[in-house]
Symmetry: C2
Subunit: 460 residues, 2 copies
């Protein structure tokens, strides 16, 4: 068995050896040798090797491989990285590459390119391929339409299992998946689905009508990709049919595309929780990174100024009891932390649809209870610690009660804000951790200094 | 077409109607009617309906359905929710249900149950099924071994395509997937793979040797599930073979299990960033939620006390210039925010393996640059704002320069900490946002008060 698994340590050496041979073949301009070694690799490994090469080696690779071979490799490259490669190819060659790719992937790539470039590629391209692509290009991003492919296998219910098998053999080289066959009626409406597994077991003279399943789950062409990923995971499908409002079959979505969607959505939610508005890439330079992070930081800077001006109002209190300042970061920090915890729980729950209508009220009641318990525990701990440290029970009680009140309010705020956003149809995942933290800073300072000012007599 | 898609609004009514009929059938003890309606649904929808029922209705459902039918439904229930159902079933019935399930899913369930219960189930169970399960039970959690199934189709390279097809028809009802066939040599080592697509296209008299692919990617049985998910996404596989160190085929991992892994790992990373150590469930009550969140909060409380004691050392400075206290939350907050941003970027990058050996140094240099740029911008803004607000250029400069220094150090810390953890083989995702935030609180306060004390003369 030849090994291509670069993930296992024992195989890594062989993979490295492979790459050495490839680099040598490029250097010595040995096209045959290069093709022999290169086409022996999995497309993903081909893509990894290709991306490591400098521009002149890449130009050489374009001339050594066919559009179909380049197309297969391009399908394994992340979309963000792909623009530069299509820009450096000869336009005629690039349009041939696109025509050879799976149509949904070609569309994804075109969505990354300049509009002018897209028009010129589609003009040079073979008409049939161009028409297929144009059909998909106008669907909105992140909907079923934008991630589906039109390369599915459709059959009619009156055909026999034998005829179906024959049709399959013809379509197998082009179709995105042949493991589900979609059954249409005479009006081209979707009426059933037949898994290849059931087709193989069936007697070859049976009619498709008799062996197909009518229990078919479809998605509408405008459905959001995140919900589709959720469905695919729940129902364990390898492919899902996409239909219009009259149940006409428009395309299918396959599981490999859905895995990319899951990864993308998880990265997005994670980055937002941390307050990085756009997902950063590992090859962004410092300026691009700074540009992506600065918007949040500037907003938070001004929110922080607002917090500062709030404390400013209590300057008199502070002048009299400077020791109060010592506990500001502690109280603000605890408020931020508990708020972020509550936020994360609520956002995940909302994203996976765990909460129904009563569920949200139940969540709020639970968070109030959780805030009460964590607040009471932390409040008692801090009162005791401050009493032992500073020997001042009033200061201890002031900080302890502030922490308790703060934790209750901050926990509630952390869950209430995403729920409100969800009600107004805003994706709750945009409520980032830093945002909640800053809101809770403000709440905590008001509680702390409000109480300190009210009970000033006990502190001096 | 009958509609089972509860996600689409136009279908929701029909789904609701379905459930009404089912509830009526249960109430009137109409077993035939219930079976007719129930078995017509997708297993995921069956599971959703089942889980909504009170205990006595569930007991009724167990008696209406066969172990195989219950098994199919159980495969769609989240693992955390499953224990109660197996505990309430008659043990003999429960063991029959487990025996009928896909072996990898049965093993996942047994891993959730009490050890005593597992032993008793395996003792009552049909021997063949019990042996299959026992084989898989001893693999460590979250490794390839623990998520693989042994229900694959293996062939020998000397067989013909026709023989292969025949073998497939026999195995199709049991196998987890029939879309990849694994080819063994006489020592039962894995030597190739044949997709059902290629088998269907092939001439039926060809030998498997001639049509199989030797480009096979395998994973070792001890490999971590997160890495496997990454591989499966990169290579677009529907199934991956699991081998021991001598390339003997032990099992396969299918894409539906990997989607669950992706969801689980994404939830875990997200929760950790927010400082919720264990993933919370929507039906946890307030006490369980509080118990899961308190460990972090208590740790952070003591770290916060440490921050407070640090500020305490500067009490003299504070007594003289009380206005300094006003900007504590602003500076600490900015440090926390920028640190969390840097953390999230580094953790995602490390998780997806985007950084090689030089990559990490490059990341650090970039983060230093990003910190410098964001620090300079925020520092200038704040200096100007404070000058306009308080009319005190020295105070403005003090806060501005503190913010600049803090942002540089905090950004670096946010990326350095996960990289160090990664080097020591600790999953960097355990470095939560609150942890980084608190570390950066301390750094920022030292910088701010250190500078304030040094330049005291200009402030009074």
């Amino acid at each position: 068995m030849e090994a291509y698994n670069k993930f296992d340590n024992n195989n890594e050496d062989k993979y490295e050896e492979h790459r050495k041979k490839l680099r040598a073949a490029l250097k010595e301009e040995q096209m045959e040798q290069f093709r022999f070694e290169f086409l022996d690799m999995h497309p993903y490994d081909q893509a990894m090797f290709f991306m490591e090469q400098p521009k002149d080696s890449r130009m050489q690779i374009y001339s050594y491989l066919s559009p179909e071979e380049i197309g297969e490799l391009m399908e394994s490259i992340e979309l963000e990285d792909i623009e530069v490669f299509f820009a450096e190819m000869d336009p005629r060659f690039a349009s041939m590459v696109l025509a050879e790719m799976a149509v949904d992937n070609a569309v994804d790539i075109l969505n990354e390119l300049d509009k002018d470039q897209v028009v010129s590629f589609l003009t040079i391209m073979d008409k049939e391929a161009a028409d297929e692509i144009k059909q998909l290009l106008h669907y909105e991003e992140k909907t079923a339409g934008s991630i589906m492919t039109t390369e599915f296998v459709a059959l009619y219910q009156t055909q026999t299992a034998k005829e179906a098998m024959q049709r399959l053999k013809d379509r197998a080289p082009d179709a995105e998946t042949i493991y589900y066959l979609y059954i249409l009626d005479d009006d081209k409406r979707l009426v059933g689905v037949l898994s290849l597994r059931d087709l193989i077991i069936a007697d070859e003279n049976m009619r498709i009508q008799e062996i197909m399943s009518e229990k078919i789950v479809t998605v509408s062409v405008a459905k959001d990709q995140e919900e589709i990923a959720q469905m695919m995971r729940d129902y364990d499908f390898l492919a899902l049919p996409v239909v219009d409002f009259q149940d006409h079959l428009l395309g299918i979505i396959t599981v490999d595309d859905i895995m990319d969607v899951m990864e993308e959505e998880a990265s997005e939610d994670y980055s937002r929780l941390a307050g990085v508005s756009e997902v950063e890439r590992s090859d962004d330079n410092a300026f691009i990174s700074a540009k992506k992070r600065l918007p949040w930081l500037i907003i938070l800077l001004f929110l922080g100024m607002f917090t500062a001006s709030l404390i400013g109002r209590f300057e008199e209190t502070l002048d009299q009891v400077a020791v109060l300042a010592i506990f500001i970061p502690l109280i603000a920090g605890m408020a931020g932390n508990t708020g972020t915890q509550a936020l994360a729980v609520a956002v995940r729950g909302l994203a996976t649809g765990e909460y129904g209508k009563q569920g949200k009220t139940k969540l709020m009641i639970r968070e109030a209870g959780t805030g009460l318990i964590t607040g009471t525990v932390c409040g008692i701990v801090i009162t005791v610690v401050i009493y032992l440290w500073k020997g001042d029970i009033f200061l201890g009680l002031l900080v302890g009660i502030s922490i308790m009140a703060t934790l209750i309010v901050a926990t509630l705020a952390g869950s209430l804000i995403p729920i409100i956003m969800d009600r107004f149809k805003i994706d709750p995942a945009v409520a980032s951790g830093p945002f909640i933290t800053t809101i809770n800073d403000i709440i905590s300072i008001l509680i702390y200094f409000g109480m300190a000012t009210a009970f000033m007599n006990f502190l001096i």
